[in-house]
Amino acid sequence: MTDLDISRAWLVDPVAGREGPGDIVVRDGILESVAWLDGGDAEGIDDRGVVVAPGFIDLHAHFREPGNEDAETIASGLAAAAHGGFTTVCLMPNTTPALDDPAVLAQVAAAAAASDSPVRALAYGAVTAGRRGETLAALGELADAGVVGFSDDGSCVGSAELVRNALAYAGALGLPLVDHAEDATQTVGAVANDGFVATVLGLRGWPAAAEEAAVARDLAILAEVVRDVPGARLHLTHVSTASSLDLVRRAKAAGLPVTCDVTPHHLALTDEWVAGSRRWAWEASGDPWSDGAITAAPYASALRVNPPLRSAGDAAACREALLDGTADAVATDHAPHTAVDKEVEFGLAANGISGIETALGVLLAAVDAGLIPLARAIESLTTGPAAVLGRRFVDRPVGLVEGEPADLVVFDRSESWTVSADALVSKGKNSPLSGRQLSGRVLATIAGGRVAHEAALAVSR
């Protein structure tokens, strides 16, 4: 069994709302002691070194199994998750076949069990049969089989009538509708954020209004459905524009049961990267052709993602939404792809970023820049997503609780690593951060009392 001793680290316990110097001891997989240090004992320990936090929860990942095991398998995805510090992942159902039936869920569960990874694999069921957007999938059967919610992610639920029905039906089952907000009539052939960069590069624009129209539609329907079905819940995933987040902010203020997540890439990268800039969003001037930001080739297909990378203002709005609680969580939208699907013309490349291993490093870049407090970054990866999932799926407090099976991540903010195809455990090497150094190397990930990932740290089992 797993034993682990970490002394003189920076502990972050988002449940207790506490962070500070301390020691932890894991014996036989149980978090035996959490000792907070103070006075002279705490001297010389700060949040810039080794950090211990609860294991991360990803509300949004694609592991491609069944159907596209060349891009990712459940086993390779779980290993990548552990490398990124995640101990729980929620898998999207856009597999082949789609997870619209309990048999596919059973297949996913069997693959997870066979992987012997201690990382917990949860899954969403499809909203519509075959994700075709026409009729409801087997929502009740899927709920009985254990899905955590319903999503047609990759596509928006196009029919407003189906959104209404799915919110009501899923709500009665106590599960959320997780929508990928995109008014598809505005995004036919669109490959990049509609804006200055897309105009200059001659790329068909994906307007912010396409997301906002879908968000507004979903919220308006939710407001009506919730009167009849108090359990109705809407979760908007990978929200990417300032106005979308404003809509969610107002809906929350009005008491609507809506939650949302933002991705690491939408809060830290911008569409200027498509032009060849490699500056973080908070360093962008808005005109990469004039400010010397362009240091790489344009049209790198690793940057092709849906929703597209937005403006610096949108990225700032994503960070602001995390700070004020409008965004409940950071979710990776980990979307691994094969070279065959990615190393092609930008306009022909598959959408998605392999991001579950870089999420922490990207968030820490924002923390390093003083834009997000470390504690809030950790919350957005732990208690935030746990609250979205609810106690039905996360039945233990997501904190550093003595006597519970250890579920935690240890990372070192003073150590950086270089993102590369070799360094990524995921089969998806499609990271736009390739070649970049990220801080916060994960030293160990312990999930459910077992070692999921370990780097250069003495962990005995």
Binding site: V200, G202, W289
Partner: protein
Amino acid sequence: MTVSDRPVAIAVPIVDSPPENQTVGWSHRHLLDLDVVSWPEIELVMRTTDAMREVLARPISKVPALRGRNVTILFYEASTRTRVSFEVAAKNLSADVVNIAASLSSVSKGESLVDTVRTVEALGAELLVIRHAVSGAPYLAAETFSGSVVNGGDGWHAHPTQALLDLYTMRSRLPGGSVEDRKVVILGDVLHSRVARSNIWSLTAAGADLWLCGPATLLRGFEAWAGRGAAAGRRFRVTSSIDEALRDADVVMALRIQRERMASGLLPSLREYAARYGLTSARLALSRPGALVMHPGPMNEGVEIAADVAAGTQSLITEQVTNGVAVRMALLYLLAGTAEPSLGSRAAE
């Protein structure tokens, strides 16, 4: 980059001889777009084109400069004018020319652009001219290819050799030989036009008073670009009013209108387009007397340009084609002499 096309000291190469070992101010390994090409470099292209015009005027319009060099022309889109222009240019330089008409359907057969580029390189290609329907495709080719890539037109993005021949043609006909402060109007389907985008870079670099004009649906996004400038300080204007655009214009360039634009709801009809934005002699009268008329071709006569205007005395459309050969000779020549990768080849890094 300065906003001026005042003369600068340029070492023009001796184009009868191979480009190797000649000291010229050209440092780009590839020609992918004009955003990274400086004004002195554009000036060098213009002067080298003068030298190529002189070659074309000879009884035997051919120099041995690229003898033994392989120029491969890989076109993923149907084109006659541009493909033949590159071919004639390469042959005038005594290069060996390989023509490949590829099709995007080869993608569905599993052969990627990267595979194709590796194949043509293995077959001996040293200079690769590529045309592709997808914006940015030449950058992907340049990442793979160890020689020089010339963008022969990619999607909506860029058509740098067209923009350079346009500039050359304007300068050859404008009094004073300069477009600085001249009102140049690009008229029509700007949104889908790689010609317009590349002309924005070159004409703003040259200090022209550049106007883009067309129906608002076909100017989407350009107001924001104009407000920012093509690069710091290099402004241009955008308007849907054709009268405002044409008033006192020195140069009017009409762009082709594709029929697909009606199907996608951007325009009511070709008839309405012709009535509101077609370049007729009545409209042309708003411009300065003797204003130059241009079109990158192929034309829809009677739609974006009236037949009498296209064939009229102010039209430089045929001259654009002739100059196209000279400009492409100049570019192939300059690129063949590039030894060191530079900013223009940042795609390769």
